[in-house]
């Protein structure tokens, strides 16, 4: 069915207000959009790796989740959800469950790119009928903005502080989306928040309803850690897409499709300058940092375009 923003919103949300994410946090926006992609008549079992999402939504005795939710550890969201999905299949086979259940694991970038990686990789490799959603805010935010393998180069974090000797994080962001593609699973996509949320909503629906394992990587900015005024969320995600820092693409059965190509690719400064974590890159003498990032982003975009051309 074609996406319609009004109908999508009229279904209501499966995440409740009263959660304790910071004002302007991107994570609950990612979560509520993914949950609205569930068919309203379907049940869901959800879990989350420890991180801002888990601690903000599930403070005993309250839960912001209207669906069943499992509180598990930092490193095992993939394993938890694959176990539940297996139990469901067994019960369904014996005729003990009638309703349709869907299985969604959420994890921050720390819980996904780093500590939960082997658990996620196993769940995807075994082909469980589940979706793993990474809400990527590019650092360990819940514990105070430590770098992760998802943090982009030169970002100023508490464990990669920029100064006279060190220019911020010294490594590039790990390309987890492509690593998930290499698992050979039927659906992998990268998205973020753009205008009417069509891109993320459609990808979430495909991820949930494609039989087998699916992975969704959603850029979900953190105004605290990225140091931008909270009201600029939609401008930040738009700049990420328009500069090709975070291209919107999906990979169905191994075939790459770029969902949006900027008419005119914007220089990376347009994205970097909005955020305090990159402010040092704009000091005189640090022009090389911006050039390095631009080269990297250009090469990645070229690579993605080549992959999308392969028939």
């Amino acid at each position: 069915m074609a996406y319609n923003l009004k109908e999508n919103l009229m279904q209501g949300d499966r995440l409740s207000g009263g959660h304790r994410f910071c004002a302007g946090c991107g994570s609950p926006i990612a979560i509520r959009t993914v949950l609205r992609a569930l068919n309203p008549e379907d049940q869901a079992v959800i879990c989350s790796a420890t991180g801002c999402a888990e601690v903000s939504t599930f403070i005993y005795p309250y839960t912001a989740w209207k669906d069943s939710f499992i509180h598990n550890a930092f490193e095992n969201a993939g394993a938890t959800m694959s176990g539940v999905e297996t139990a469901y299949r067994a019960l369904k086979k014996r005729g003990k469950i009638d309703e349709t259940y869907k299985f969604i694991a959420f994890g921050g970038d720390g819980g996904t790119y780093d500590i939960g990686f082997q658990s996620l990789s196993g769940a995807m490799e075994r082909g469980h009928d589940m979706v793993y959603v990474c809400y990527d805010n590019e650092a360990y935010m819940n514990t105070g903005i430590q770098r992760s393998s998802s943090t982009p180069m030169f970002a100023d974090t508490t464990t990669t502080p920029q100064g006279k000797v060190v220019p911020g994080k010294q490594q590039n962001k790990k390309d987890l989306t492509k690593i998930m593609v290499a698992h050979g699973i039927p659906y992998v996509a990268q998205s973020t928040f753009i205008s009417n949320f069509k891109d993320l909503s459609e990808k979430a629906h495909k991820a949930i309803y494609t039989p087998g394992a699916a992975f969704l990587n959603v850029m979900a900015p953190c105004p605290r850690g990225w140091r931008y005024p909270s009201e600029k969320m939609m401008e930040v995600t738009k700049a990420a897409v328009e500069t090709c820092v975070w291209p919107l693409y999906e990979v169905i059965e191994g075939k790459y499709t770029i969902n949006y190509r900027p008419k005119e690719k914007k220089p990376v400064e347009e994205y970097l300058k909005m955020q305090g974590r990159f402010a040092h890159m704009f000091k005189p003498g640090n022009e090389w940092m911006i050039e390095t990032v631009q080269k990297h982003i250009d090469a990645k975009w070229e690579d993605l375009q080549n992959l999308a051309e392969i028939k």
Binding site: L5, G17, R20, T33, Y60, P61
Partner: protein, 99 residues
């Protein structure tokens, strides 16, 4: 909230909380007012609002309800934390953040 609701005041004894700290009902955080975090608040000018709904999905706090008639309602100030995302997302300048 259900009959399983438990007291979590600082003096509660562990015997008085649910086994394994289970929660038996969904969406119970709705009882928590997060609107008191707000330092500025969004107000809508209904004359400027064109009901495009672009503000609604961008709210982190589900504070822009879309009603059965497909139109957005007023802000839910019980939850709204005053982040300002909606005001910037509105293409028609219908939302202003005020003190």
């Amino acid at each position: 909230m259900s009959k399983y609701e438990k007291n979590t005041a600082p003096d509660v004894k562990w015997q008085d909380i649910t086994l394994a700290a289970d929660v038996f009902e969904g969406g119970t955080s709705a009882a928590i007012e997060t609107g008191d975090w707000r330092t500025i608040k969004p107000v809508i000018d209904w004359d400027k609002c064109k009901q495009c709904l672009l503000c609604a999905p961008a709210c982190p706090d589900m504070s822009i309800p879309v009603m059965a008639d497909g139109k957005r309602g007023d802000f839910d100030y019980f939850f709204c934390k005053g982040c300002g995302i909606c005001a910037n997302a509105c293409p028609f300048g219908a939302i202003t953040m005020v003190k």
